[in-house]
Amino acid sequence: MGDRGEFFPSGSRRLYGFLHEPRASEVPLVIGPAAMVFVHPFMEERQDAHPFLRSLAGRVSARGLWALRFDLHGCGDSEGEWEDATVASWLEDLRAACDFIRAQSGVQRVILCGMRFGATLAALATLDDEKPALALIQPVVKGVAYSMDMLRAYVAAEMVLTKKAGVTRDSLVERLRLGQTVNVFGYHLTAAQFDGLRDIDLMQSLASYPAPALIVDVVKTATGRASNDLASLVTAMGPAAALARAVEPQPLYAEGKVHLTRAEQVELTLLGWLETLGQP
């Protein structure tokens, strides 16, 4: 049938996915039949990361794997509204996406690949009572910091618009506690989402991770500062986890000045790691 976009069920909701069928256009990976499910970053980061995830999925399918990019509940083209979703419902969606690609491909082995908070969600997933192999591109390690970044984005946006310092992050937290939402660039962050994010600490959740995992730290230059969080995370995960640095000229999840549509170093890193999964 070829590459295609279609809706698939997740509970009572329908999610949009784009399926890349395996192609024999490049030398196949030697890992045997497998499918890779890509989990997007959140809010506006999803838009800016789209071309890179599309290209990654294309490269993986060109090497013989099935690949699925999909939108979580309330994100992208999927049904539902952002403010109705929670971390728990997004994890259900991720499991539904894995079921969908298994049904479409007939392949049982699923590897998860995510970027930013999408990587974090992938890291929290359990499939059939097992932990899947993971490729995490710049995962959010500490939900507390990430949730506060969202509030800071609100404060900064308001400051630019009104040209004065108005609300504080504390007052926004108070607003959430009163049952109101905080408009982060048009996405209405809820208290349930805020609390769900704050509960996340991958350092604890992924301690002694039993399956193979790749953590990709994207830096702007070869001498760029490495992420201490990611280095500590890999240490906590244990011997099955590997840390790789990929040099990309601009962030993969923010609007850049150069018109890039693929992350060459990240792609090479991911494909290299997939090759290792086939080795005894």
Binding site: D77, V155, A156, K163, F185, K257
Partner: protein
């Protein structure tokens, strides 16, 4: 009901999109909406704006299509049109996605049997609709949101990056924005790290602070006796020189100056051309401007193309809505409401 759809453009490239239809086919109205994506953004738009618009319209019986242009989002095609993002903007501002919009309009019409069509979009989507409308037979009107009225290119982008402080010197009115942007960085640990390690170029902030300080001094100077004023002026010479009135940017070299003239600092004459063509074909045009973009729009286009009072503009099928206190992506609630109302009003007229 939302359907994943695909169709081809004039080059045979497959474009992917979502067609929003009313749940009850019996409520389908005779007019549809083609909502066009902005610039490099994929078909959902900022804050899923395009999804929200399409769902609202479909719920009112109006079939709505949103899709990815060639090379963008899920669609086939070459994604790059130059080295920089600004070059892609320039491509769009020259009608680069016109063929895709025409293919989408024809697909929407054929799929739903609508008699008339409203085209609209934010920024690059707005201008793409105007370009496409010149050859489409069933366009009733347009909702153009923050219509880009200049041409962008990487040469302008490079000039802005390399000479931002200099440019600010010639445009003191933008000082407050620059200071606000730097205030935002005060809460950013990365920015502090860059500052302390000497990686930051804070010349722009210094220039902004200098202009701001001098503006304050200029308010006080007239209150001083002439001799004291002259003394203060002498003291400030070199430290806080007077702020020059708005003036053209000072080019570094003639070649770059020539590039700038054709790349961003002049009006895009094609905008007026396609706008006049739309009016000549009897199409209505509703402009919706964010307060942050409105001055640029008026300066390069509105002051000349939209002359006349409200009644005379309306008689020509033109409306202009200025949404106060809002940004370019209309992410604030009041601006979202204004946007929805403008689109729904145009579609209501079309049915």
């Amino acid at each position: 009901m939302e359907k994943a759809v695909c169709f081809t453009n004039e080059n045979g490239q497959v474009l992917h999109g979502i067609l929003h239809l009313p749940d009850d086919p019996a409520t389908m109205r005779g007019a549809g909406l083609l909502w066009l994506s902005a610039g490099q953004k994929v078909r959902q738009g900022a804050w899923r704006m395009n999804v929200a618009i399409a769902r609202r319209l479909a719920a009112k019986g109006v079939p709505t299509l949103r899709f990815d242009y060639r090379g963008i989002g899920d669609s086939e095609g070459e994604p790059r049109h130059g080295e920089m993002v600004m070059d892609l903007y320039g491509f769009i501002q020259n009608g680069g996605f016109r063929g895709d919009a025409i293919a989408a309009a024809q697909f929407l019409t054929a799929q739903t049997g609508i008699k008339s069509l409203v085209l609209g979009g934010l920024c690059g989507g707005a201008i793409t609709g105007l370009f496409a409308a010149a050859t489409l037979p069933n366009v009733f009107g347009h909702v153009v949101v923050d219509l880009p009225v200049t041409i962008s290119s990487s040469s302008r982008q490079r000039y802005l990056e390399d000479h931002a402080a200099e440019l600010l010197h010639s445009r003191p009115g933008e000082t407050d924005t620059v200071i606000a942007l730097y205030l935002k960085k005060l809460t950013d640990l990365t920015a502090w790290r860059r500052l302390l390690s000497g990686e930051s170029d804070y010349s722009l902030l210094l220039e902004a602070a200098r202009i701001k300080s001098r503006t304050q001094v200029d308010r006080l100077l007239p209150r001083l006796p002439p001799r004291a004023r002259a003394g203060v002026e002498r003291l400030l010479r070199g430290v806080l020189p007077p702020v020059e009135p708005e003036s053209p940017p000072i080019p570094v070299d003639a070649a770059l100056a020539a590039q700038m003239k054709v790349s961003g600092e002049v009006k895009n004459d094609l905008v007026e051309e396609v706008f006049q063509q739309a009016l000549a074909r009897g199409q209505r045009v509703r402009f919706v401007n964010s307060s942050s973009y409105h001055p640029t729009f008026m300066g390069y286009f509105g002051n000349t193309a939209l002359r006349g009072d409200e009644a005379s503009l309306n008689a020509r099928g033109i409306e202009l809505t200025l949404v106060p206190d809002t940004n370019h992506i209309f992410s604030l609630e009041h601006s979202q409401r204004a946007l929805f109302e403008a689109i729904e009003a145009m579609v209501a007229m079309a049915t």
